[in-house]
Symmetry: D4
Subunit: 151 residues, 8 copies
Amino acid sequence: MTISIYLSGEIHTGWRDDIIQGCEAAGLDMRFSAPVTDHDASDDCGVRILGGEPDKFWHDNKGARLNAIRTRKGIADADIVVVRFGDRYKQWNAAFDAGMAAALGKSIIVLHGPEHQHALKEVDAAALAVAETPQQVVQILTYVERGTLPG
Amino acid sequence: MTISIYLSGEIHTGWRDDIIQGCEAAGLDMRFSAPVTDHDASDDCGVRILGGEPDKFWHDNKGARLNAIRTRKGIADADIVVVRFGDRYKQWNAAFDAGMAAALGKSIIVLHGPEHQHALKEVDAAALAVAETPQQVVQILTYVERGTLPG
Amino acid sequence: MTISIYLSGEIHTGWRDDIIQGCEAAGLDMRFSAPVTDHDASDDCGVRILGGEPDKFWHDNKGARLNAIRTRKGIADADIVVVRFGDRYKQWNAAFDAGMAAALGKSIIVLHGPEHQHALKEVDAAALAVAETPQQVVQILTYVERGTLPG
Amino acid sequence: MTISIYLSGEIHTGWRDDIIQGCEAAGLDMRFSAPVTDHDASDDCGVRILGGEPDKFWHDNKGARLNAIRTRKGIADADIVVVRFGDRYKQWNAAFDAGMAAALGKSIIVLHGPEHQHALKEVDAAALAVAETPQQVVQILTYVERGTLPG
Amino acid sequence: MTISIYLSGEIHTGWRDDIIQGCEAAGLDMRFSAPVTDHDASDDCGVRILGGEPDKFWHDNKGARLNAIRTRKGIADADIVVVRFGDRYKQWNAAFDAGMAAALGKSIIVLHGPEHQHALKEVDAAALAVAETPQQVVQILTYVERGTLPG
Amino acid sequence: MTISIYLSGEIHTGWRDDIIQGCEAAGLDMRFSAPVTDHDASDDCGVRILGGEPDKFWHDNKGARLNAIRTRKGIADADIVVVRFGDRYKQWNAAFDAGMAAALGKSIIVLHGPEHQHALKEVDAAALAVAETPQQVVQILTYVERGTLPG
Amino acid sequence: MTISIYLSGEIHTGWRDDIIQGCEAAGLDMRFSAPVTDHDASDDCGVRILGGEPDKFWHDNKGARLNAIRTRKGIADADIVVVRFGDRYKQWNAAFDAGMAAALGKSIIVLHGPEHQHALKEVDAAALAVAETPQQVVQILTYVERGTLPG
Amino acid sequence: MTISIYLSGEIHTGWRDDIIQGCEAAGLDMRFSAPVTDHDASDDCGVRILGGEPDKFWHDNKGARLNAIRTRKGIADADIVVVRFGDRYKQWNAAFDAGMAAALGKSIIVLHGPEHQHALKEVDAAALAVAETPQQVVQILTYVERGTLPG
């Protein structure tokens, strides 16, 4: 039983690699997908491929639409959506992904530090787990697949 | 043809009243719903009704779940979801509502100032309109119902 | 905004009346439905209408199917499903209704005493509120409709 | 045509192994999934991974949510859900799973002794088969795959 | 709680009137719909409105499609679909309606004499009640609405 | 049984009025909706309300999105979608509406002259009726509601 | 692109083998499923596995429910449902399968002789093709996969 | 993560090959499907397999229905639907496919020259990208799979 996981949210720290490598080290049968994590490519993909826009709104709109092709497939195909909220930026796209995941009936794991607890209460209330570290997410996935707990 | 509209997001300014009164002044056949906008009641509803929690996480969790009863009915019943992002707070719940609305195929109107344009590009890209003022939202709703434009 | 509520579960105490009368006293705009609460009629409806069965299994099966016509409409039409677990009987039908409600995306309120807390943990985990008294349910419904809390 | 089967319910007897081994002995092409059947791990998984809770309700809630990640994928991916009711405990989670399976349109096989017949009449009425032994379940699965009956 | 009922199948006896009048006499809050029961109009509607067809297949096809506009709305809007099999004709359209109703999750009541029992076993197995007389259907609907049984 | 009808397609002839007035004259219980049929308003609504765009693509995009709020509600609420193809313009939006209606399971009536027969074969193949005149549509709707045919 | 096909209906002639062998001879990439075609096993499976029933109704009901496990998976997994109506029996189960397939949006091919044309008009009207011979079905499947027509 | 792509629309130029070969040259993991692109076979498939029709309407209808078997599977299985509008014909089937894809929540890429910009504004408004060349589509697919942009 391969489990499909979409890793949504923050793109400026290595949390995705921590989870993926932790699962590989444990020998789990997980398939991961994620948004494009190259910030510049993600911002400029629309105009680079489809032609420049003088107005920043349309520059961003073109890019956000292209990114949505990948994001929506990732969420639609996932059994579990892990949404990470970090320290920088507004990260409204992460909360937007969580809302989509909730409406689609996906299992949601939210990953954030205690400083965001109050502001994320609606997102956390839609989740099946609220973790603080990638290691906890690996432990959750290990338990979901095998039923074993950390020693 | 009554149109149902859910007014999601910021609760500290009078934008909802501006829209509702504008639509009433125009004689439109709109039915509005919204989250509880009393900030203290919204934060404390869970513990006030179901019993106190020493841990802030569960205090918030109980409240967020109660609020979800109202929020989800509002979104589920809506033809149009207007999502307002203001100047204060993280407002992740607004983006979460927008994600739910998008996954449910609702028509989304986003309402925010130009300072949030880049950070909201994924939310805006899922919308059918991006407005800056409640008056524009009233004009949109007037056009949707009657096909008439501002003079 | 009329809210539709299905009152599932225990049929041997007056908890449904407590909720309905509490909501009426508060002037709320709620529409209630419920299973047939006449225990004998509920057990015998199948054979009374469609003909007797010598085998108890089919006696019960005929009745359970007739009751399902009412139960499923009640759940399907509901915004909120309140599921009450009392002191007597196995009440597997109540848990079954809760599972249906969860899969259909209904808002679930579970109503039970603390003695059932551990045994109901999976049902409670799917709920938006876990209450101990009908009065709390009335307070929840008051808050959901009006945003006001008990004084 | 691989058939996917989720084995829900009682975790204190070897009925799952009886079914799985019976299908293997018959050479059937079935893929099985099940909840975590280690009772202690299942009860404590939430607090062991995500941190302890002084309140038993939240201790259980955290665990039940983690278990739901596995349970819901198992049910969602299944063609057939077998739900076993045994002699001990309230087993409301088994009836809850049956309700989810019914709402999702899964084929349900209920497995229980005659002593539970009346109490399970609503669950049985939603099933395509009601069996008393794991061997009958193996015979059903053999028939579903191959169209052959026990000699 | 108005209950919507679609009366599918045989069009050559007065069973629909028996049910409708029985429900009216009992004061039930039911809303009925049905296919066009004028056999000639039903056969010829397509060519009468949209132009003649020399080939009987297309004559019938045009008519069956027009009738489907009414039939599908009737089934889609129904809480309960009553399907009557009588003594004449193949009545494949009745079984087809039952299949649609089953796939859409409607509550199905089948109405037929004992002579069709074996041939209708698959349809009966998808039903929540199998009745032999319109009076039984009225009794079922009375029970579903009020919880009362025939005296 | 009120029937809801969305009148999609050509906006330069009076076919909508012909159908609506024909149904009113016949006393039918139909509820009609339609896109905005003021060509200039429909083209310019986006920029008139939300601000001008120097690039024609975005000018049109803003308008098409606003119009989609009305169009999608009309189609979503409809039992029947009538799609009219006239003599002028590409009318790709009409075919697009027909595709949406087909995927949503709506009953489709296509209205066009014989000169478009070959080019519309895929759209016609998804329809329950293909008519040439508004009068035929009125006759269809009369038959669907009442089961009566033109004299 | 493997295409999944469910072969529903008549079980007393070799039409399924004709189609399967024709597709194999043509080298098509099709995956077939079908009901149990051993008439006796199909009739008696319920009582043979789950225990005898003195009442023929329940004898048949038990069997029809077991068969539904296989039938519903076959239809649910299919891209195309071929429904064959032959010369014997009422074959209401074939029409029931066709109704389920239609409601689930499956592509339907009906296979029957001209003598059943009028009686099957509603089923045919829901189909994408009406064939008279298994060879035509093989030609259809060849065209669907490869776009080539018989020489 | 294999991505499934349906290539809808114009069948008289080599744009499909340009995209497929471009993706192969880039080593992308894409799976393509498309309608039958042999114009004559597509027009005549119905009558060639199922028998001739003297009336052109039914000749076309039979063919369009057969083609729908392939088209609907292609769209239903796709993650992304690319819709190409060329210079010839009405191409209402392309717009119809786009409408189906939109209603099914598929990611849509529209491919057309600037001369069709105004007429396609409703289709473009439902798309996540509007491209002018097959090379841009290859670049989009490369970005969606790998996150890399053209050099």
